[in-house]
């Protein structure tokens, strides 16, 4: 039996290091996209630049949606580890809802831009903007799918050791996405708004 327990603890620590290293690789993906954005941001091709098209209030709202969801995902993790399955599910549900809210605002922002003729094909600046922000959005979407699958698993099987482990991994991933967003918020939106 002891052999099984150490085996499962080793699995936990393995998986968490693996996810962590995956996040490190993701940092480099975003590093490339940030560098590209900063280098290409003046390539507006006669179109609008950053100060003309962003709606800062909307972005502040989505920033807070994501920040709140980071908190709720942490709470879900704590609830799960104290054995509170219901609490974990409620907090996870809140995280999913906030994530969907964030994504909806992002899609609204993209839709508005495209409707006004500022789609990604218009200029290098817009390409870099859409792809940097869109890659983050894609990660959020993956996170939401993961969270829904997790919720489904926990509601069916309860807080198995594997379930708690997976929820812990999800929380780390979600915190990381919030952290990336802080830099998108600062570099793309805030610095873009300064003329």
């Amino acid at each position: 039996m002891t052999s099984h327990n150490t085996h499962s603890a080793a699995k936990q620590s393995n998986a968490s290091l693996g996810l962590w290293l995956y996040i490190m690789t993701d940092i480099m993906v975003f590093a490339s996209l940030f560098a590209t954005y900063v280098i290409l941001r003046h390539g507006t091709n006669g179109g609008p630049d950053a100060s003309e098209i962003f709606n800062l209030e909307l972005i502040l709202v989505s920033t807070f949606l994501l920040l709140f969801s980071s908190l709720t995902s942490g709470m879900a993790n704590i609830a799960a580890r104290s054995g509170n399955a219901r609490g974990a599910l409620v907090w996870l549900g809140a995280t999913i809802t906030l994530g969907i809210g964030f994504l909806t605002l992002e899609l609204y922002e993209f839709g508005e831009l495209i409707l006004h003729g500022h789609g990604p094909a218009h200029s290098a600046f817009l390409s870099a903007f859409f792809v940097l922000v869109g890659t983050h959005g894609l990660h959020i979407l993956i996170g939401i799918i993961w969270a829904i699958a997790l919720g489904d698993y926990i509601s069916k099987k309860g807080l198995t050791p594997d379930g708690v482990r997976r929820l812990g991994l999800f929380t780390i991933f979600w915190h990381f996405l919030d952290l990336v967003w802080i830099f998108i918020f600062t570099v793309v939106y805030l610095l873009g708004a300064i003329t």
């Binding site: 693996g18 995956y22 480099m28 390539g43 094909a121 792809v131």
Partner: protein
């Protein structure tokens, strides 16, 4: 009726039209059908499925990597023969291939050799040797390992399909825009290149994570980092570079692909885009990639030399320090690949000096190997001969590299045959020779019999001789002004040198044939070459403590490590035979087909993106997510081997 919603942009014009490609387009499917028919005839499908396709055993995955790498070496080698045949006869008025075909051939040669031969052989050898060297049962994530391999396989399939339909990229192995942009290359060729690299690249990235966690978490008890074999250190550093560099490739290829698919403007010359940015980003991946390939080869040589000189490696700590220095420095030299693009003196000087500095840790390693050999009791087996050939060739390649690190000199030889000779000098003479040494060295551990030694030595000499004939003329041609990637030239004085070079490629081909024949001969004589005690070379590290071929659980009893070269000292101090009570229950991963399914879905998505078949992309991606979720939430992925079963298996294997 309009079928374009169904078949995308595919049409009859993409079918092959010239004789060379028609031959390949007919021959390749026929070959595949013949193989499939043979498998069916000999009723080997269930064996293949259960023992290989669904396997999560690192050693079997490693063997499959090696198989693909060797197959692709033949394909890439055939490309090389075509290229040099063309340049040998070009001024005589014979045109073997038209310019566009020639461009596709050198692009395919470069992409295949780097991504599917060098990377494939590297991951193959790591899979085979690393867990055994660490005293581990398996890699950290056996299933992820299978996913990585099958993604690599899917990329390989995609790059070869281009031979049959649609043609390949003509943009060189790194595909610089604007040539690879929509404007100059609207066809599917560049997309084949992008998606073959992208899919196999993601596999490499996952492998990087996998092996890093394996090294950090799965070492045998007592094996601290500083007690690891140098091979494990070199793999660790190489995999850290994979994790940091490959994401840059992924992002860069994604952006190039979006330029092509969604008409974006990252690297276009209009719309505010900047093609120079692509060159910058691709080399921010590309330079570390060079070290990703060479470091495991260095690690193999470190093991080979210590074993065959019967001495511990000289300067272990400086070896590790050199590796760590390379881990950092390889990320601050990338601009030396485009000194001539127009950056100022400050930028060029900085990257030039960094490039010269990175030669120092590399030199340290070479001296350490030489000092290990000094006063050693050396046995000149095939792996040692590969080392000698490497030391000769790699030193020349390293020195010409330092030459080109001087920006002023680089302006003279940039993008000439001199550069081509330089990087073949380090990649053939460094990376490939290292991997060949690894194949001869670890072959008995996986197959249970040694490779025929004399044929291995002969192959090494043929490779080295062929290499000198093929590439020394290119150094001269480069200094004479021959630009790389030319299919024809007007200066007749170049022709003799090009002919010598073509002969050299032929000699290398003889070397390949010798290796293949040697392997076939060894299989035939496997009884005589059998490795009966699992330790054919009188080795020093833990992989030689288990029977050959290594059992699927690697170690029946987890080894306890107290020092470097543990096995060597265990043999000296006398090995205690294990007691029945030493065996405990172990958990092993179950075989799974999910890895294959994920790769099929990824490959189909790639084909959809290449041919603009959007429904296929959607279906494949949804399928992909579905399989990943099914697998992620599957709790039943392991089985237990009881102490009793293990004891019996181990007794049988040791007999």
């Amino acid at each position: 009726m309009d079928w374009s919603w169904f078949i995308g942009r595919f049409s009859a014009e993409y079918l092959p039209s010239d004789p060379a490609t028609i031959g390949a387009a007919i021959g390749m499917p026929l070959g595949i059908i013949a193989v499939l028919a043979a498998i069916t005839y000999f009723k080997k499908w269930s064996y293949l499925w259960n023992e290989w396709i669904t396997t999560v055993d690192a050693k079997k995955i490693g063997i499959m990597y090696m198989g693909i790498a060797i197959l692709m070496l033949l394909r890439g080698g055939a490309d090389a023969l075509m290229l040099r045949a063309q340049t040998a006869v070009a001024p005589s008025g014979v045109e073997l291939f038209d310019t566009d075909t020639f461009q596709q051939v050198f692009t395919a040669h470069g992409s295949i050799m780097i991504f599917f031969v060098a990377m494939g052989a590297m991951f193959g050898l790591i899979n085979i040797a690393l867990p055994l060297l660490l005293g581990a049962r398996d890699v950290a994530y056996p299933f992820l390992n299978s996913v990585s391999f099958w993604l690599f396989f899917a990329g390989m399939v995609i790059i070869n399909i281009s031979l049959v339909v649609g043609g390949f990229s003509n943009g060189g192995w790194l595909g610089y825009p604007p040539l690879t942009g929509l404007e100059y290359n609207p066809g599917p060729g560049v997309d084949y290149w992008i998606w073959a690299l992208q899919i196999s690249g993601i596999g490499s990235l996952l492998s990087g994570i996998n092996f890093t966690v394996t090294i950090l978490k799965h070492r045998a008890p007592g094996m601290t980092l500083m007690k690891m074999p140098i091979f494990a250190w070199s793999v660790l550093v190489s995999m850290v570079l994979v994790m940091l560099a490959f994401p840059v490739l992924t992002a860069t290829l994604a952006m190039l692909s979006l330029d092509r698919l969604a008409d974006m403007h990252f690297f276009t010359s209009d719309g505010g885009g900047n093609p120079m940015l692509y060159v910058n980003l691709i080399w921010a991946w590309g330079h570390p990639e060079v070290y990703i390939l060479i470091l495991p080869a260095f690690g193999i040589f470190s093991e080979v030399i210590a074993t065959f000189a019967r001495k511990k490696i000289f300067g272990y700590v400086t070896m590790v320090a050199a590796l760590l220095a390379i881990m950092f420095l390889s990320f601050v030299v990338w601009q030396h690949h485009f000194f001539t693009m127009g950056a100022g003196a400050n930028v060029n000087a900085f990257f030039g000096i960094m490039t010269m500095i990175i030669a120092i840790p590399t030199g340290v390693k070479l001296f350490n190997w030489i000092f290990t050999l000094y006063k050693g009791n050396i046995r000149f087996t095939a792996p040692m001969i590969w080392f000698m050939c490497f030391a000769f060739s790699f030193t020349i390649g390293g020195v010409t590299g330092v030459l080109m690190a001087v920006p002023a000199l680089d302006f003279q030889v940039h993008n000439t045959m001199f550069l081509v000779a330089h990087f073949h000098n380090v990649i053939i003479g460094g990376v490939l020779f290292g991997f060949f040494a690894g194949i001869y060295y670890w072959w008995p551990k996986v197959f249970g019999f040694r490779l025929h030694d004399a044929s291995g030595k002969l192959a090494a000499y043929l490779w080295l001789g062929g290499f000198i004939l093929a590439f020394m003329p290119l150094y001269v041609l480069g200094l004479m002004g021959a630009v790389r990637r030319i299919d024809t030239y007007s200066d007749p004085t170049w022709q003799p040198l090009f002919i010598v070079s073509a002969i050299g490629v032929g000699v290398i081909a003889l070397g390949v044939v010798t290796m293949v024949l040697g392997a076939i001969y060894s299989i035939w004589k496997r009884k005589e070459l059998a490795d009966t005690d699992g330790d054919p070379w009188d080795g020093r590290t833990l992989e030689w403590s288990v029977p050959s071929p290594a059992p699927h659980y690697n170690f029946a009893i987890t080894p306890q490590v107290t020092r470097r070269d543990e096995w060597w000292y265990q043999k000296k101090n006398g090995i205690k035979p294990p007691q029945k009570s030493d065996y405990v229950d172990i958990h092993l991963p179950k075989n799974t087909a999910a890895g294959v399914y994920i790769a099929i879905a990824a490959g189909l998505a790639g084909m959809g993106l290449i041919w603009h078949i959007w429904w296929l992309v959607a279906v494949a991606l949804i399928g992909l997510i579905w399989i990943v979720l099914q697998r992620t939430f599957n709790d039943d992925t392991e089985y237990t081997l009881t102490a009793q079963q293990l004891y019996e298996l181990d007794r049988k294997a040791s007999l």
